[in-house]
Symmetry: C2
Subunit: 202 residues, 2 copies
DNA sequence: GCGCGAGCATGACAAATGTCAGGGCCACCG
DNA sequence: CGGTGGCCCTGACATTTGTCATGCTCGCGC
């Protein structure tokens, strides 16, 4: 009785190669492939796989969004996320979405096959290094409003625009920005945005 | 007589899978693998491959840097760059470094094998879509100083620091920044930095 | 009820940033 | 030679952003 796997990654090169390698394992069966978030969802609905291996970054909807949808639509389907750039915040978001495994693309195919089995058996697996990063990043020191304002400031918008979109006075917006900057111990709001992004706090 | 290939990519998953798939081709022989820029160089020196397939983003030194070194050290070795995120500037830099091929990871392994043969035969191959992007991005409208100042501004440094590092008055720095912003048709310097980065102008 | 601390909000002031008009230099063209 | 235009550079001025002191509200412990 083999494990039915769905593979989703926008990079054809990787997806194809991965499918080939996983097929070498006797107990794994790649039943569907997808190149985008929406496509992954459609494929999952059609084939009801045991395990969905999702790339974190895909056009349309990222791995975590797909995982969230799958959680309600196919509760029996375990989700395993693979990613190139492991930012702490992603891991946190992923676990919150009910993802069962989270691994970087630096693992070997052999190892990935083992992890697929682990996840299929109902266990969780998180790459130790990524976990350590997430723990050292800690929880966000930002308050709700600070995070909100920082997010609106993310694309370099002027304070006036942020104030309007958040229905706040400009002074208040500056205040939150300033507070976020000092909490994060950085030089200016742009560095704050970058850091918060990196840590997954926005 | 098969083509001797060096494979360099920091993602073990992809590198391994790729090696396996390329090995299925009778006329391709993967003689070495590397997970970082420096390692790729060392492997190239040791094995003198016919074609080096390099990931654009690797720890240590990126694909283009490696290509530059290879150009002088192993002039007979053709370089083919593969990349996930195809930014126009990268392509330009790569071609300037004497790279013979440039493809996104969205191609299939089959296609990649063909391209390796193409490059080995002495021809060039550039992904049509990436080429179109690069052409539509066009040449940088920025003058030398504008680009220099923009680069120094890239990490959110204050004007005073940029002025000092560029040995200019603060007024002048502001002026260049302003000029760059208006040339790029964006709202502020941060957006300008992002856009210039994206287009490969800095 | 009362004091206390945390988060939310504001405006005044100071500092940094963006904009403008203009001057010097050099290469190019008539 | 005498424009003409592009690039480099500057300081003065207007606008935007960052900092600070302050007030409000709400939940909590006493």
């Amino acid at each position: 009785m083999s494990v039915r796997v769905l593979l989703a990654d926008d990079e054809h090169l990787i997806r194809g190669a991965l499918a080939a390698l996983l097929s070498l394992e006797d107990d794994l069966l790649v039943v569907a492939e997808a190149a985008s978030g929406p496509e992954a969802l459609a494929m999952a609905r059609a084939h009801a796989p045991d395990v969905a291996v999702l790339d974190l970054q895909m056009p349309g909807a990222d791995g975590v969004k797909v995982a969230t949808s799958l959680r309600t639509e196919l509760p029996g389907c375990r989700v395993l996320i693979v990613t190139s750039h492991g930012r702490p915040g992603h891991l946190k978001r992923a676990l919150a979405a009910g993802v069962r495994g989270f691994v970087p693309k630096t693992v070997s195919a052999q190892r990935l096959a083992e992890i697929i089995r682990t996840v299929h058996a109902g266990n969780r697996y998180v790459d130790p290094e990524l976990a350590a990063d997430a723990i050292s990043a800690g929880d966000s020191p930002l308050t709700a409003r600070e995070a909100e304002v920082l997010e609106l400031a993310a694309d370099g918008a002027p304070v006036a625009e942020i104030a309007e979109r958040a229905a706040l006075s400009q002074g208040t917006v500056r205040n939150y920005l300033s507070s976020a900057v000092s909490k994060l111990g950085v030089e200016n709001r742009h560095a704050a945005v970058r850091l918060a992004r990196e840590r997954g706090w926005v």
